[in-house]
Symmetry: T
Subunit: 167 residues, 12 copies
C-alpha cells in the first residue's frame, strides 16, 4: 500500500507537498532516536553532579517527544504516512547508537553535545531545502531548532571554562 | 470617517502598512464566517459517530475565534479600522453559506474539508503577497495556516481509506 | 430536508415543542450578531479610557457565545435544526449592522446601550410567550436576561451622572 | 420512628412542606437507579464506537449523582427523611432493571433513550404538581430536567438520521 | 439627589422597575446584617464541638456576601441606588442585633436557626410580591432562598433528634 | 446471551479467568450497595456532631464508587459482563438494607461499623481465594481493603474510649 | 456574662492581655464599617471611568474583610469576646455613615480618601499604644497599616496632578 | 565497562539483585518499543472513527513511557545499567516491527490487540519468575500488568460483539 | 569540628550573630518536638468528636514543620550549624514526652493547651532577648508566636464555656 | 491504660492483628527518625554541589513523613496505640543519632547511604515476617520499600563511578 | 578575557554566529532599559485614569523581561557573553533616560509611544540585517516585534481620536 | 517639577514622611541594580555545576524585582516620586558594575556574596535610621533583609567547607 495519499495541503502541488513530507521523515527518526538516547543518559549518568544533570534532561525529553509528534502529524497533513517504528529507524538512520552506558556527568554531556551538533546541522539543512516551497514546514523546523540550540547551550555551559573553551 | 489612521507600525511607510492591513480584512471575514459555520456543524451533526465529531469541533472553534482576534488587532496596529460585522461580511465575501443543515458526520466532514481547502489557499496567497513587506504579519498568517492545515488533516483522516484516498 | 425532527422533548407534544424551538431561532441569531458586534467594538474603541472598555467587553463576549450555544442546543433538543450561519442571520434579522467604526469609548457605549435595549426587550417577549408551555426554555431565557441586564448596567454606569441621567 | 420531622421550611405549612418532600422521594429513587444503569451501560457497551460512548456517559453519571444529592437534601430540608437504599428503591419503583447486558453502542443508546423518556416525563409531572406551592423545589427540578433533556439529545443525535428520524 | 435614575430595565415601565428595586433594599440590608452576625458567631462560639461549627460558617458567609452583591447590583440595574451602609441598615431594619456573645455551639445554632426563619419568610414574601412583574428578580430570590434553606437544614440537623424534633 | 466472552486476560486459561471474574461480581454488588448506604447515612444523620460526620462520609463515597468501577472493569477485562443493576443487586445479595433512617451520629457510626466488618471479611476471603491464580486481581482487592479498613478505623475512633473499647 | 475570659496569651498578665484586646475592638468596628462603605461605593459609582474604579475596590474589600477576621480572632486569642454586630458598631463608632450615594468616580475617590485618613491615623495610634506590651498585636496592626496606606496611594493617584497636589 | 555495579538493594545478595535486574531489561525494551508503536498507530489511523481512536492512544502512551522509566530506574536501583537505545532494542527483541502503516481503525486495533497479548504474557511470566525473590519488583510488574490489561480491554471492546466474540 | 562558622550576617559582629543563633537552637528543638507530639495526638485521639480534632491538627503540624525549617535556616544564615536530631533534642530539652496515649478529645486538647503555654512563654522570652540586636530574627519569632497563639485559641475554644472559663 | 484495643481488623484474630501492629512500631520510629535526620542534613550540607543536594532531600522528607503517617494509622487500624514521641523513639531505637553536622555533600550522601541500608534491611525483614498473615500491611511496606530503594539509588548515583563502584 | 567562545551554533561559521550575537547586544540593552522605564512609568503615573494605565503596564513588563532573557540566552547560545549590567547599558545606549517623572496618564502614554517607535524601528532593522544568515534569531526578533507593535497599538488607542489621529 | 507631593501618609508630618521616602531611593536603586546583576550572572555562569546555580538565581531575581516594586510604591505612598531609571541609577550609586563576565560557578558565587554583603549592610543601616519614625517602612525593610540574608546563606553554603570557612 502506498505511503502517499491522493492529496496534500491546499496551495501546493501534490508532488511538492509529498517531497516536503519525505524530507521530514529522517527528522522524525532523529527526534525519536534522540528521546530514547536522552532517557538512556538520564538513567545512566552518575557522579557528584548526578541530580542536576538527571533532572535537566527530563523537560528536554518532553520537548523532543513533542517535536516528533509535530513532524509526524505534519507528514500526515502533507499526505505521506509517517513511520515511527524502531526497526525502520535503525535501518534508515545514518548514525549509530548513543555511545555511553553508565558514566559520569561530564562524559555524558560531551556525548550529548556531539549528538546535538549532528542533529542541528541536519535540521538547518532541511530548513534551507524546504524553506522555498513550504513556509509552514520551515517555520516548524525553525522553532524546533531554536529549542535544540538552546538546550545545546545548557549542555555546553557545563563543559565550558571562563574563556569559552569546551573542555 | 476614514478607516485609515494617520500612522502605521514603525519601519513601514504609512501606505505600505495600510496596504498590508487591507489585505487582512478578507482573512478576518473568513475567520469570522468559519467560526459560525463550525458551530453550526457542531449543532447539526447526527449519526453513530456523533459524539467524537461534535467534540472535535469545539477546540478548533476556540482557535479560529482567536485567529479573528489576532487579525483584527493586527489591522488596528497597522492603522486600519477592522470590520467584524455580519452584514459587512456577507456583502463582501466571495463564497456562500455553509451548505449543510442536519446531516450525518461524514456529510459534514466532507463539507468542512471543502471549506478548509478554500480558506487555506487564500491564506497561502496572502502569505505570498505580504511576506516581502511585513515579516510580522507574514509570521502571523503562517502560524494560523499551520493550525488550519493540521485540523484539515483531522477532518481528512475521517474520510480517507488505508490507501490515502478521500472517499 | 425538513428542519423538524420526528420527536421533541418528553412531556410536550411534537407540535408544541417545535413551536418553542422556532421561537428560539431569532434569539440565536441575535446572540450570534451580538458576539460579532461586541468584538467589533472591542477592536475599534479609542480614546483615553480605551483599556478599561476594551477589557470589559471580552468576558461579556464569552458569555454571549455561551448563550448562542445554549439556545442552539436547546433547539436541537426540542427537535428543530438550528441555523447559525451568517447569510441566514443577515437575511432574517430585523435590525441592521452595528453603526460605529473607530470611535471613542462613550460613543461606543451609547451604541451598545441601544443594542442591548432591543435585545432585552425581545428576550422578555420570548419569556412571556414560551413561559406557559415550557418552563425549561423559560428558565434558560430568564438566566440569559439577568446577565444581559447586568451588563447593560455596566454600560449605563459609564453614561450616567450622579442624578441617574444617561448623558 | 416517623420519617417526618416537626418542622418544614419557613413560609410553608408543615403539611404542605412534607407533601412536597414526599413527591420528591420517587424522583430520588429514579436518580439513584439511573446512575447505576448508566454505569452498567458504561461497562457493558462494545463495538467500533466503544470509546466515544463509554466516555460520554461518565460526566452524565456525575451529574445524576449530584441530582440525587440535591433531591435528598431538599427532602431533609423540607423535614422528611429521604431513603437512598437499594431494597427500598427496588420495592417501590414502577419500572424494572435496565434491559441490556453486553451489547453494541446503538443497542445501548436506544435503551438509554427509552429510560430518559420515562424519567423526563415524570420530572415534568412533578414540576407541574409542585410548582404552585414551592418555587424552590420547582426550580431545582427544572434545572435537572434541562440537563436530562440535553443529554437525551446527545443520545438521540447518535440514533437520528439527516431527516431527524430515530432509527 | 434622587436615588432613582431616569431609566430601568427594558421591558418594564420605569415605575414598575423602581418598585421592584425598592422591594429589594430590605433584602439587601438583611444580607448585610446576616454576614456580620454569622462572622460574629464564628468568632464567639466555644465548647467541645467548636471546630466543626466554626468552619461550617465560613462558606455560608461567603455565599451571603455574594447575595448582598447580587441584590445591590440588581437594584442598580433596575435604576435605584442601593444603600449598603451600617447606619442606614440599623435605622431601617425591623429586627435587633444578634442576641449571643461568647456561647457554646448549641446556643449559637439555636439563635442562628431563629435568624434564618425570619429571613427566609421575608425572602419568600418578596418572591410572591415580585414574581408577577419581574421573573429575573424572582429567579434571583428563589436561588438565594434555596441556599438559605439548605444551610438552615445544616443548622437544624445539629439540633434535631432521631424523631425529627428540634431540641 | 452469554455473560462470558470468548477470551480472558493473556496468561490465564479462559476458565480460570472467568472464575476470577465471577468471584468479583458479589464484591461489585457490595460496593454499589455500600455507596448507596453511605449516602443514605450522609443525608439522615442528625445531632450535635452532625457536620463532622456528614462531611467525613463524602470522600469515602467517592472512593467506594471508584472501587465499584475498578471491579466492574476488571470483570470486563477478564471476559465476563459485570452487572451493576439495582434489581440484580437486591436479588443476589446475602444481606439486607442498611438498618437506620434519621438517627444521631453515634447510632449511624455503630451501624456503619457493622457494615464494614461484613464487607472487609468478604474482601479478605476473596483475596485468599483469588490470590493464587491472579496476582493482578489480588492486588486490586488488597488496595481496596486497605482503604476500607482505614475508614473503619475512622468510624471506630468515634466509638472507642481511651481504653480501646467500642462503646 | 462577662466578655473577658479567665485567661490571656502566655507571657502577658491577664490584665495586660485584656487591655490590648479592648484596644482592638474599635479597630474591628472600623474594618467592618469600611468593608460595607467600600462595597456601597462599588455599587454607586458612575461616570466614564466607572469600570476601573468599580473593579479596583473589590480586592481591597477582600483584604479589609480579612483584617476584621484577624482583629476579632486576635481579641478572642487574648481572652476577650469580640463584637462584630451592626447595632453595636453604630452605637460605638465615633464617625457617621459614608457620605455619598450615586456619584461620579472622583467624588467617591475624594470621600474614600477622607475615610482612609481617619482610619490610618487611628491604626497608627493603636500601634503606638500597644507596641510596648504586645509585639504580636503590634505586628498585626503594622501589616494592616501598610496595606491600607498602599491602597490610599491608589486612591490619591487618581486625584493627584503632576505636581503632587490633590485636586 | 561492566554493566553491573558492586552493589544491589539491601536485603538481597548482589547476585540475586543483578539477576532480577537482568530479567527487567527485556521488559524495558518491550515498553520502549510499545510507546513507539502506539504513537505510530496514533499517526497512521484513518476512517470514520478516527478521532476516538486517535485520542484514546495518547494517555496510554504516557503511561507506557512511565513504565519504561520505572523499569529502567528499578534496574539502576538493583545495580545494573539499563539500556534504552534503539539499536540495542532492535538487536535483542524477539519480535518484529508493528505490521501496519496507514490503515483504518479496526485494522489497527486488531494489530494492537495482538501486540498486547504478547507483552502481557511476558509480563506475567516475569512476575512468576521474580516474585519469589523480590516483592518490590514483583509489585511494580503487577501494577503495570493491571494497566496493560485494562487498556487491552478498551481495545477488545471495539472488536467485540454482544456475544463477547472478537471479530 | 566547630559548629560556628567564620562569618555571620552582614551588619552584626560575628560574636553577636552567633549568640542570636545559639538562642534559636532550643526554639528549634521545641518545634521539632511539637510536630512529633501533635502527630502523636492526631493518631491517638478517640471519641465522638474524633474527626474534627483529628483534622484540625494537620494544618498546624504543617505550619510547625515550616517553623522548624525557618529557625534552622536562620541559624545557618547566622553562621551556626543547627541540630535537628532526636537524640540531641531529648538530651537537651527541659521538658518530657507528651503525656497522653489513646485518649478522648478533651483530654488531648487539655494536654496540648499546656504544651502551648510553655512553648509560647519561651518564644516570647526569646523575642525579648533577641529583639534589641537582630530585628530580622525577632520578626521571625513574632510571626511564629502569632500563629502559635492563634492555634492555642482554637484549642482553648473547645475547652471554654460561655463564661470564658477553661473546663 | 493498655495500648491494645478490644478489636482488630475484620478477618484477623485479635492476637494476630495486634502482633502485626507491634511489628510496625519500630518501623514508625525509624521513619520519624529518618525525617529528622534528612532535614538535619538538608540544613547542614555545604560545598559546590550544595543546591542540588539541598533541594533533592525535601521531596523525600515529605514522602517519609507520609510513611510515618501510614504506619501509625495502620497500627491504630489494627487496634494498637502508636507512639510517635521523641523520648520513646530514643529509648527504643537500636541505632544512634545521624553522625554528621556541617559537612560537604559527598560526606552527607555517604552517611545517608548507610542509614538507608539499615532501614531497608529492616523493612524487608518486616515484609517477610508480616506477609504471611496480613497482605494489607505487607503491601504497605512493599510500597514504602520501593520508594526508599529508589531514593537510595539517587544517593548512590552521586557516589558511584562509571564502573559502578561506590567511592 | 574574551567575550567570544571558541564555538557557535552548528551550521553557522564561528565568525557569522558571533556577528549575529553582537547584533543582539544592543537589542538586549534596549529591552533591559525598557523594563526599567515601564516600571518607572507604572509608579509615577497619576490622574483620573490612573488605575487602567497602571495595571496595563505590568503584563507588558513581564513580557519585555522575558524578551531580554531570550536575547541574552540566544547570545550565549551563539557563543558570545551577553552583558546585562546597568553601567554597560548606560555607556553604550544611543538614547537617554525616559523623560517623565510624576505626570498624568496621557503625558506618560505619549512618552511611551515615542520610546516604542524607536525600539521597533531598531528591531525591524536587526531583522533585515540578521534574516539572511540566521533564521532562528530572525524568528525570535519577529516574534518580539509582533508583541511590541501590539502593545504600541494599546498605547496609541488611548491617544487616537475617531479619525485615527494621535492627539 | 518637584518630586515631593503636598501630602504624606496620615500620622506622619509631611517633612518626616518625605525624609523616610528619600532614604528609600537608594535602596530602590540597589534592588534594580541587583536584579540586573543576578540576571547577568544567570546568563554568564559556566562549568560542571552550571545548571544548579543557573536555576537557583531565577526565584531570587523574581523576589528582588518584587522588592523594587515594594520600595517604589512605598515612596509614592509617602509622597515622593520614585526614580527607577538606569541613567539615574548609574549616576547616583556608590558602587560599580558587577565585576564578572563569563566565569565558572564558584567565581560568580564569590562575587555575588560580596554584592550581598554590601546591600544587606545598607538595608540594616536604613532599618536603624527609619525604625524610630515609621514602623511600616521599617517592617518592609526587615522582611526584605530576611530574604536577602537567607539567599546569601544559599550562596555561602556553596563556598563553605565543613569547618564553616568561606573558601
Amino acid at each position: 500500500m502506498s505511503r502517499k495519499a491522493s492529496f496534500t495541503v491546499p496551495g501546493l502541488t501534490e508532488e511538492t507537498g509529498h517531497q516536503v513530507a519525505e524530507a521530514l521523515q529522517l527528522r522524525l527518526h532523529a527526534m525519536n532516536d534522540l528521546q530514547l538516547a536522552l532517557k538512556h543518559a538520564h538513567w545512566n549518568v552518575v557522579g557528584p553532579s548526578f541530580i542536576g544533570v538527571h533532572e535537566m534532561l527530563d523537560p528536554q525529553i518532553e520537548l523532543v517527544r513533542g517535536f516528533a509528534d509535530e513532524l509526524a502529524e505534519r507528514m500526515a497533513t502533507l499526505g505521506v504516512s509517517p513511520s515511527g517504528l524502531s526497526g525502520d529507524l535503525v535501518a534508515n538512520r545514518s548514525w549509530g547508537d548513543y555511545p555511553e552506558g553508565r558514566a559520569d556527568t561530564q562524559t555524558h554531556l560531551r556525548a550529548i553535545n556531539d549528538v546535538y551538533t549532528g542533529i542541528i546541522e541536519d535540521h538547518r539543512a532541511a530548513i534551507a531545502k524546504i524553506g522555498d516551497v513550504d513556509p509552514v514546514s520551515e517555520d516548524l523546523l525553525i522553532g524546533q531548532t531554536a529549542e535544540l540550540e538552546k538546550f545545546q547551550w545548557f549542555v555546553r555551559a557545563h563543559l565550558e571554562n571562563g574563556s569559552g573553551e569546551i573542555k
